[in-house]
């Protein structure tokens, strides 16, 4: 079972996703402005800003949770979970790069979050339950 290249690839994709999420958290101004009408009030700006902050923080928390599961060894050598995780986090990193550079409106972020942050975390939870409760190894 050739997991020799898969483990660092999965790690690097997760770190790329993490770095880009932190970057957006620190510089989300243009994205929030892109999803507001041309003359907006500060209240509208604040509500959209809060939405985006909540989404980003939850994504950060789920990513850290998955990183803990990976580094703790629970799912490091399971190739199916690694494949799902690598592809989804890589596509999340690419989409987040487009999100930053092309100033996508903040509504698009929820699609990225749903597919590429929530889904790997859910599969990670399933893997953890499987390995703890049912003693399912590699």
């Amino acid at each position: 079972m050739a997991v020799s290249g898969l483990v660092p690839a999965r790690f690097l994709c997760m770190i790329a996703h993490l770095v880009l999420t932190i970057v957006i958290l620190l510089s989300r101004d243009s994205n929030v402005k892109a999803c507001l009408p041309l003359n907006y009030s500060p209240n509208e700006y604040d509500s959209k800003d809060t939405e985006l902050i909540v989404g980003l923080s939850v994504a950060l928390g789920l990513l850290v949770f998955e990183l803990v599961g990976f580094m703790g060894g629970i799912s490091m050598f399971m190739s199916s979970q690694a494949m799902i995780s690598t592809t989804l986090h890589a596509s999340a990193a690419v989409s987040l790069a487009y999100f930053i550079f092309d100033a996508w409106p903040c509504g698009h972020y929820w699609y990225i979050f749903g597919f590429c942050s929530a889904f790997p975390a859910v599969t990670e939870i399933f893997v953890m339950i499987g390995s703890f409760a049912f003693n399912k190894g590699i």
């Binding site: 660092p8 790690f11 690097l12 770095v19 970057v23 510089s27 580094m71």
Partner: protein, 156 residues
Amino acid sequence: MLLYFNAFYFPFWIIAIIVMLEAKYSSLSTLYQIILVAIFVVMTIIEGIRVYLGYLGNLMEKVPELAGFWLLTLLLQLPLTLFLLLNEATMITPFERAMHIVLTCFVVLEVIIGYFAIRAMVNYQVTKFHLQQFTDMERIQNLQFQNDIYENRYTQ
């Protein structure tokens, strides 16, 4: 394990730092231009040596290499990474901030876990040395016994 992933993370960190430095070079004060270039060169070299020493010391279980790695990490990389992360006058971009956060986590965890790893390895080698001394003593006692037999035979 931390060293393994650190080795993979290192080239991406270098590329990110070079790009960010090039982007903000013209808008820095002269002092910080020089400081940042110097820090970048020093950190690249030290990070390469450090990860190599740590990897070799860990796999071959050699304490001097591992001790060298731990000292380099504690005394050089820790202050340098904290400087890069916390000094606002170098105009830290958000991208740089994120990359430095990851690198700082690596360095801090390596300092903590490296201490315990070196302690365990030194204890194991001390025990091995003590046990080795007992087998050496048995060999010396056997030689003494044989010398006494020969002395008795010739002096009769």
